[in-house]
Symmetry: none
Subunit: 194 residues, 4 copies
């Protein structure tokens, strides 16, 4: 695939992203993508052969976008508390972000995959979050910033709670205050009591 086609592929991924944000995963058709990209039916098939392959490419592109942002916001020698705070800040954004979020599409996609006994992307993402938090909590506790007994258990608890809120905000109505309050509650259970 030439240079030019890589550009086109990225263009399709970008346009498709909007479609998945708007319609979720299951109800998106090749026709939807074709129309969003304003290309020919056959043209799309030069790059992707199913909505699923497009969606995977969209997620990949998305994950490439996310990481750099996180790092830049941190000071040179961040405390574990700093890192956790930033993590919560990002999560809060993900929870409340209604427009532009691929979350619903990702849930729908994961439901399908899970039926087929495959390891879902969502699952990988959550595992990564648990590992990340576990590590922070451990280091933070050792440094006296936090006071957590079972790091893994608490990490899981936090991830479940965050995921629950994400789900809530897509099926119910969740406001920023509620999210803030929950994050404070979590912080309280982590910080040393005295």
């Amino acid at each position: 695939m030439g240079n030019k086609s890589i550009q086109k592929k990225n263009y399709i991924i970008e346009k498709a992203n909007h479609v998945f944000v708007k319609k979720g995963f299951r109800s998106v058709t090749m026709k939807d993508i074709v129309e969003a990209c304003d290309i020919s039916r056959g043209g799309l098939y030069l790059y992707f052969d199913s909505t699923e392959s497009i969606f995977r490419a969209v997620l990949e592109a998305e994950s490439a976008k996310v990481d750099p942002g996180l790092a830049r916001k941190l000071s040179d020698k961040p405390t574990n508390n700093d890192i956790l705070t930033l993590f919560f800040y990002e999560q809060k954004k993900a929870i409340l972000e209604r427009r532009g979020s691929l979350l619903v599409a990702m849930y729908e996609y994961s439901f399908e995959q899970h039926e087929n006994k495959e390891k879902t992307l969502l699952s990988n993402q959550m595992d990564a979050s648990v590992k990340f938090l576990e590590d922070i909590l451990k280091k933070g506790t050792e440094a006296g910033e936090f006071s957590v007994d079972d790091h893994r258990l608490m990490a899981q608890n936090i991830v479940y709670t965050l995921e629950g809120m994400k789900l809530m905000s897509r099926t119910s109505f969740l406001n920023e205050e509620d999210v803030n309050n929950q994050l404070v509650l979590i912080m309280k259970s982590i910080l040393p009591k005295n």
Copy 2:
């Protein structure tokens, strides 16, 4: 609608239930239902005009089934702790129950509803859970069984965590031990410290 018709309608609802359990919501077609019920295409339309109306009926029937079970299991004078324990027991079942659950269908349906700015069934269900827990926590704290400051906040936290686990078990792999550990963690944060 005659007596016979009501029977038929219930028969359809029961059969459709299995279909939604198996296939979620979005991918279920009128044809699926027709085949599951072994009735005529036109026949189904006498009772329901879309998969959505069938699904709503299925959920309604489901909610009618659930409640009585809960009450019966409680002793005459249950403590708030008893009630909470029973609630957790039921939730645990809902989290781990892979076959026979309408959860995925309900998520898919709620995503669609929420897009249309409608109040989702899931939302109502979660609100009810929060209220229920809030009430128990309040009474329990007053009775000295629990020690919770902000009843509403903690109730929400519990609901989010539970919902997060439900989601996890449909997109990832969650075992009973993990659930138990989480429930223990929640109980610890509720029970009086000393």
Copy 3:
């Protein structure tokens, strides 16, 4: 399938027959059949799910048509020579019949099947012809009507020659006289010399 649909199915088979006669097998599309039958796209799929299944049904219907005709033309006590003559007469018709013949479609279909290592319909038909001829030649030789050493070998030879002529008439130009001459040549090699 109700009474009415059997009629419709037969109607489709009849119309499809013309299509296969005209276009062979490979280039016939579901659309061709739909248009020949003047029914809806979806309508056809109620009865058949591929051109192949239609073609098989056409062949089946065709073979049901053929047999009765043969029997009726024979006298009460036909000699083996009578039977053979009738057989040749039918074969001559099949060779020369340009309009209305499914032969080309059958060849095309058989080529495909044979690629897939399946026993082809054509193959079965030819086997049946060989067996039939072998039997006639044997009885005829015993009755002194014919003088054939190796019945099976001669039966095969006749079948190959006939098939060769059929093929010729679809790829080249074969006139009735040529066919007659060949049949006379075959008869000469069968009849007793003296």
Copy 4:
């Protein structure tokens, strides 16, 4: 067309040959050829504008290949019997050769051409065979090697039989012994009786 172009054209013809051998004629697409040749889509169109034109070129190239082989195998002063034997040997190879044969493609192509009232290549080939055999039989009979009355009729009969066997071997299962037996039977009907 330059020297280089002719080389490329021959390269395409050679690769296309394999494709036609494998898939027959009708189901071969320009895409198949492009992929087999590993050239660009547009590139193919510089040399050929349809699968039909490619196939014709393939057949032409094929016929150029065949003849020299035949001649070389003959002794200086071959008898007519020698020539006929060699002819039968080549035919036997053509009948039994399953891989590498263009026969099915040629049949499919000829069916199409014949529909359009064109003189088919197959037809020309068979005419040539008849003429060739007629000549041999005539000369052989004159030389006392054979004993054939109507040379043309017998030549046709042989060609039909051979063609019938070729067809059989592509739609049914034909073994070498059967072919040998048929050839012996033919020889018997040609050789002088005494």
